[in-house]
């Protein structure tokens, strides 16, 4: 049972345009969400996070939106750059005691010049 779903395996965007990566979750106990970025042959690196008490968090070109009623979050990258080409993982953590992160399958973003 996949609790964190990234239904788009890949996304292609032109440089300068907006990239929107989506993530859905099923566990209503999740209260903290993170996005990680992964380049080939490297480990994932933390990008941005959001707590369930917020509906938006912004960090430079990256914004994460959370819609709790729809159990949906999205990562917006504006403007997209070729260096953003990577696999993006959505992850979530529940509020029950000590909780580990549950990851989605990832979306491969390709930003073309």
């Amino acid at each position: 049972d996949q609790q964190v779903k990234q239904n788009s395996p890949s996304l292609s965007v032109q440089e300068g345009r907006i990239s929107i990566l989506n993530c859905d979750y099923t566990n209503s106990m999740f209260d903290y969400f993170l996005w990680y970025k992964k380049y080939p042959a490297e480990g994932p690196t933390f990008l941005i996070s959001i707590s369930s008490i917020k509906d938006k968090n912004e960090d430079g070109r990256f914004t994460v939106f959370l819609n709790k009623s729809a159990k949906h979050l999205s990562l917006h990258i504006v403007p997209s750059q070729p260096g953003d080409s990577a696999v993006y993982f959505c992850a979530a953590r529940s509020n029950s005691g000590y909780s580990t992160l549950t990851f989605g399958k990832g979306t491969m973003l390709l930003v073309s010049p």
Partner: protein, 111 residues
């Protein structure tokens, strides 16, 4: 700071062999984790530790063992390697329940 260091980067094992994947961190983080990533799949948690001497199973612990004798080190042991354990293994650490810091991974093939 080196962060999280994993060795080796690549390894080929024969079925039935055993090996230990090494992981060390120099950030004095209490929490450490082992994940595996299969092609086209997300990261699956194998084992984690909330401090020296304390370990617990994750989602996919079968075929693996861990120990945590120091804050810095969290080795992952494969006792009888099987083809199903062919994967990329990532070690991570965190100061609390927030973001994880990952190592660069170990690519393991079991043939």
């Amino acid at each position: 700071n080196a962060g999280v260091t994993q060795t080796p980067k690549f390894r080929i094992l024969k079925i039935g062999q055993s090996m230990t994947l090494q992981c060390t961190q120099d950030m004095n983080h209490n929490y450490m984790y082992w994940y595996r990533q299969d092609p086209g799949m997300g990261l699956k948690l194998i084992y984690y530790s909330v401090g020296a001497g304390i370990t617990d199973k994750g989602e996919v612990p079968n075929g693996y063992n861990v120990s945590r004798s120091t804050t810095e080190d969290f080795p992952l042991r494969l006792e009888l390697a099987a083809p199903s354990q062919t994967s990329v293994y990532f070690c991570a650490s965190s100061p609390g329940q927030g973001e994880l810091f990952f190592g660069s991974g170990t690519q393991l093939s079991v043939l």
